[in-house]
């Protein structure tokens, strides 16, 4: 459902951040993306959601070449992807509830059709008491969990999570991993960028994609 072919990316005039990246993500698969800080994990995810265009190479997503998508198709494709940003990117003027409901709201769904789901998901990530709080008053971990909830709410075909447990305690991290695994089992392809070795050890069945020096190494 997602494939990179000889993808290279260069920011401005600096040397290539990503070089000859070639890999495939199968539907219903689960993988960790790891590598040292600054290796290009976030960059890779930005390529997948088309927030960034590759300098060279071909990215195919849901069977389509991203280069050839028009604007509507880009939006449609994005609606199939859930993403947890490393820096959360919650909207401070909305409540937590509204933030999490955002992907469904912008798709034009009726609020009554997702209200229960949103509150339940927030409860599951431990934010049941903070539903009406604005993100600005949340702790780091709480923001992170809200960001996770927002990525899950639209039941994406592909989930990208960028360092989703960097700000939560190990118990909560396990709980979140369990959520991702269940999501994966229910049919979603999952890519989790993380530095957390303990986390990765908790789910051995996952593929590991390791970025280093701009190249990708895959451990099945």
């Amino acid at each position: 459902m997602l494939s990179f072919e000889n993808v290279g990316l260069r920011y401005g005039v600096s040397p290539e951040t990503l070089r000859d990246i070639t890999f495939e993500i199968a539907p219903h698969s689960f993988q960790f993306l790891t590598g040292p800080s600054g290796a290009g994990k976030t960059t890779l995810m930005r390529l997948i959601i088309m927030a960034l265009k590759p300098t060279r190479g071909i990215i195919n997503i849901f069977g389509k070449d991203t280069e050839r998508l028009n604007q509507e198709e880009v939006t449609a494709t994005r609606r199939g992807i859930g993403i947890v940003f490393q820096d959360f990117r919650l909207l401070d003027h909305l409540t937590l509830y509204e933030n999490v409901a955002l992907p469904l709201q912008v798709q034009g769904h009726e609020e009554s059709s997702y209200r229960a789901e949103v509150t339940e998901l927030l409860r599951w990530v431990g934010l049941g008491e903070r539903v009406t709080a604005p993100p600005s008053v949340l702790s780091g971990g709480e923001k992170q969990r809200a960001a996770i909830a927002r990525a899950l709410i639209s039941r994406p075909k592909l989930l990208l999570a960028d360092e989703p447990t960097g700000n939560v305690d190990p118990t909560m991290a396990r709980r979140i991993l369990r959520l991702f695994v269940e999501l994966h089992k229910s049919g979603t392809a999952v890519i989790i960028a993380t530095h957390d070795l303990t986390l990765m050890d908790q789910y051995d069945e996952a593929r590991r994609l390791v970025l280093a020096d701009g190249r990708l190494h895959i451990f099945e």
């Binding site: 927030a51 509204e98 409860r123 539903v131 269940e182 999501l183 229910s186």
Partner: protein, 323 residues
Amino acid sequence: MLDFMRDLLAPNRPRLMIKPDSAYSIKTPLVPANSVAGRSLVMVIAIMTFLAALTAGAATLISDASIDWRGEAASEASIQLRPTKGRDIEADLESAANIAAKTRGVASVKIYSKADSEGLLSPWLGQGLDLQELPVPRMIVLKLDTKARPDLSKLGVEIVSAVPGASLDDHHIFISRLGDMARAATMISLFIFILVVIALGIAVASATRAAVATNREIVEVLHLVGATDRFIAREFRRRFFSLGLSGAVLGGGGAILFFAGIKLLSNSWRATAGGDQTEALFGDFTLSPTGYGVVLLLIACVAGLTGYLSQQIVFRHLQQLNE
């Protein structure tokens, strides 16, 4: 509800504990309603609209006043009769007045008596002068129907042929001078109005740009969670249209109140000499329906402009994100 989650949640947290659905709902507009930048935009728009409405009002006041001046002058003509030896001037006055009264488009005819005519001259000849012996010219004043002005040149010929020594003055020199003056005044006020409208446009554009810039993060997030460009632009246009409308109504309404206030004040000024002068210049400061129309149009345009600009700015930003 994600199906697997029901199981995960089930054991220790019974379904009943969940708050009723209606407890939470989406109320906040996606583009923040009450940011500092938004309020500042409203203030800037209000002020610029106020000033533009003021100049527009002043322009209509001046042009209305000049129409008054010209209208007054144009609705009158006069016949002058110089006394000639051997003719009965009173009879000549009568016959000239008769000819004039019969002409279509002449609303009324008034013969100035000798005393009236002397009164008109006295400022120029000095008060104490004994005019009895002077052959003072006599006047007939014609009120004209401004909607169906008579053919004055024809009337002039008729009168001169019937009454030698008579002449018809249709004030056209005076009117054309007044016309030049009024045109100049109207042009100047129109010019200033255009200047202010240009300034308004620039100010609104740059304040809108600044207010949109503070929401750039929101554009990006909406974009990445799957909102279409059209959806985002529409949210912004709607929000900024309402900001523009508040500002424009505030400013335009302020201007209307201002004119109302000035009218009240001018009523109390009227007693003073200065007040008289200004009133002579500007009429009684009553904004005409045209004036109100211009102010309302201005309000609509400013609100529309703000909405349109915000949409364009957001679209351009989205295009940059897309490439």
